[in-house]
């Protein structure tokens, strides 16, 4: 028998932010919740002079991570392996140092936020479910990682390639549409755009809508079965970027996350039957102490050495760096911390398992084996607490 919350579930919403790690965003939460897994005592990264630098609670909303910390495949490899063969997560400072050649500013890659700086994310983590082991899908940049959230694979790409035409593996949106289910990819506006427009444009207007429409759909109670929301990626037309990509202002991202959450929660007909997953596409070059494990399954692709930039091919047998992830619903246990491994392939995997049971179409073994998360809606009675943000 399914959990009561899952039985009531009508809408799954996924919000994917940009380029922050678990330790960086949740580093100060351990005092409030001992189950939050941050670095152990003694974890440091060496700087250019060989001085060992620990994580420090000095992160600011803006101005510290400029230039954008490198997070292409080869630099991330260096960040994870620190120049050696063991994934000891000790190469973040040396990688960042190479960009400005400034020892002092290279230490900023080890900074983390205090919980009071991030009242939205921190309170959501403490009130709902926090994933201690949600990893980016690839130790690389944005687009290949976001592809995993849409397709369960990046089709062999480890960089910023964007086109996936003609492959038998369809996006979660195409799968759902073909089965008569409803789905939308809400992007902020046309000037910010969505990274998936090129691949799925033909499916307008079934798939795409804007943030403004998301708010209207929440208000009207007309959310589709499955929604994916993208933040604003640039400062334009008087609007401040809300994606939290360095060096965009992190507080604006807090406000954006709160706006999505409150749009759902403030509609009493929507809140009881909606689950919201908030996560980040990749780590953006910022420190985290957990070595990425192997994914649950393989997708059969291999990126050649000229694409990885490491001199070696990559068989998609290692996940990316750990990112924040929170599951929000009145049916989850307050303050639950989950220690099993998840990755972005878990997103289409979960939506497919829930909305297309017995799915017979093509998808990767990796997505099929990725752990799903709706079993966490397990409270016998719906919770009536939960924070409101003003």
């Amino acid at each position: 028998m399914p959990p009561t919350g899952l039985d009531n579930l009508r809408h799954l919403v996924v919000l994917m932010m940009e380029n922050r790690t678990f330790d960086h965003m949740f580093g100060g939460l351990k005092a409030a919740h001992p189950g939050i897994d941050i670095w152990p005592a003694g974890y440091t990264n060496p700087d250019f002079n060989g001085k060992e630098i620990p994580p420090q609670p000095k992160a600011e909303y803006q101005g510290q991570l400029d230039p954008d910390p490198n997070h292409d495949f080869a630099p991330v490899n260096e960040q994870i392996f620190g120049g050696g063969t063991t994934p000891d997560m000790r190469g973040f400072i040396s990688s960042f140092f190479k960009q400005r050649k400034n020892v002092k500013s290279s230490h900023r890659i080890m900074y983390y936020f205090k919980p009071e700086q991030l009242p939205v994310l921190s309170n959501l983590a403490l009130e709902y479910v926090t994933f201690n082991r949600w990893f980016a899908s690839i130790p690389g940049p944005t687009l290949c990682n976001r592809a995993f959230a849409h397709y369960g694979t990046s089709f062999g790409h480890v960089g910023m390639e964007m086109k996936y035409f003609g492959h038998p593996i369809k996006s979660i949106y195409e799968r759902l549409n073909a089965a008569g289910r409803t789905t939308k990819l809400y992007y902020f506006d046309r000037a910010s755009s969505t990274l998936e427009l090129i691949n799925l444009l033909q499916d307008q207007p079934q798939i795409f809508a804007t943030y403004e429409q998301f708010l209207a759909d929440c208000h009207a109670g007309t959310l589709p079965d499955y929604s994916f929301v993208e933040p604003n990626y640039s400062d334009h037309d008087g609007l401040i970027a809300s994606d939290q990509h360095p060096d965009h202002h992190v507080a604006e991202g807090e406000r954006f996350i709160a706006s999505i959450y409150m749009a759902i929660k403030s509609n009493p007909k929507l809140w009881p039957n909606t689950a919201l997953l908030v996560t980040y596409d990749e780590h953006g070059g910022i420190f985290d102490h957990v070595p990425p494990p192997a994914p649950a399954g393989v997708d059969g692709f291999e990126a050649p050495p000229e694409k990885t930039g490491t001199g070696k091919s990559f068989k998609f047998d290692r996940l990316g760096v750990r990112v924040p992830a929170i599951l929000i619903s009145p049916w989850v246990k307050k303050g639950l911390v989950v220690n099993e491994v998840f990755e972005h392939a878990s997103i289409p995997g979960t939506a497919t398992e829930w909305l297309l049971p017995g799915f017979a179409g093509q998808r990767t073994d990796r997505e099929a084996r990725a752990r799903t998360f709706l079993n966490l809606l397990s409270e016998p009675v719906m919770r009536t607490d939960g924070p409101n943000f003003v």
């Binding site: 909303y61 009242p119 009130e127 964007m162 640039s234 401040i240 507080a251 607490d385 003003v390």
Partner: protein, 103 residues
């Protein structure tokens, strides 16, 4: 539970002149390629700031929508994009006057 105050974003955080990050630059390049492949002529631009990227992306987006989704009779062959590249004030001024003549 008591209401929780969100952090305020200062207006000083707004910086449309900020150099565009690689994510934005890549997205522009891919959109540009898609517009061309859809059969629409477009002279490549090299936007550098976030505001320039946003302006260009809005036009590319509109063009891609029109080229792919509109009926054949309503499609246009070339894209009229305002000058978003820095250091080309003279050209910008000419194209502005052209635009105003058209409108």
């Amino acid at each position: 539970m008591a209401d929780i105050k969100m952090p305020k974003t200062p207006r000083s955080a707004y910086n449309p002149k900020r150099p565009a990050n690689m994510l934005l630059i890549n997205q522009v390049r891919e959109l540009e390629k898609a517009v061309k492949q859809a059969g629409r002529g477009v002279k490549s631009k090299k936007p550098r700031t976030e505001e320039q990227v946003a302006t260009y992306m809005r036009h590319l987006n509109r063009a891609l929508h029109q080229q792919v989704l509109l009926p054949q009779t309503m499609k246009r062959r070339s894209l009229d994009v305002p000058d978003v590249e820095p250091g080309r004030k003279k050209k910008a001024s000419r194209s502005k006057s052209k635009r105003s003549r058209r409108s």
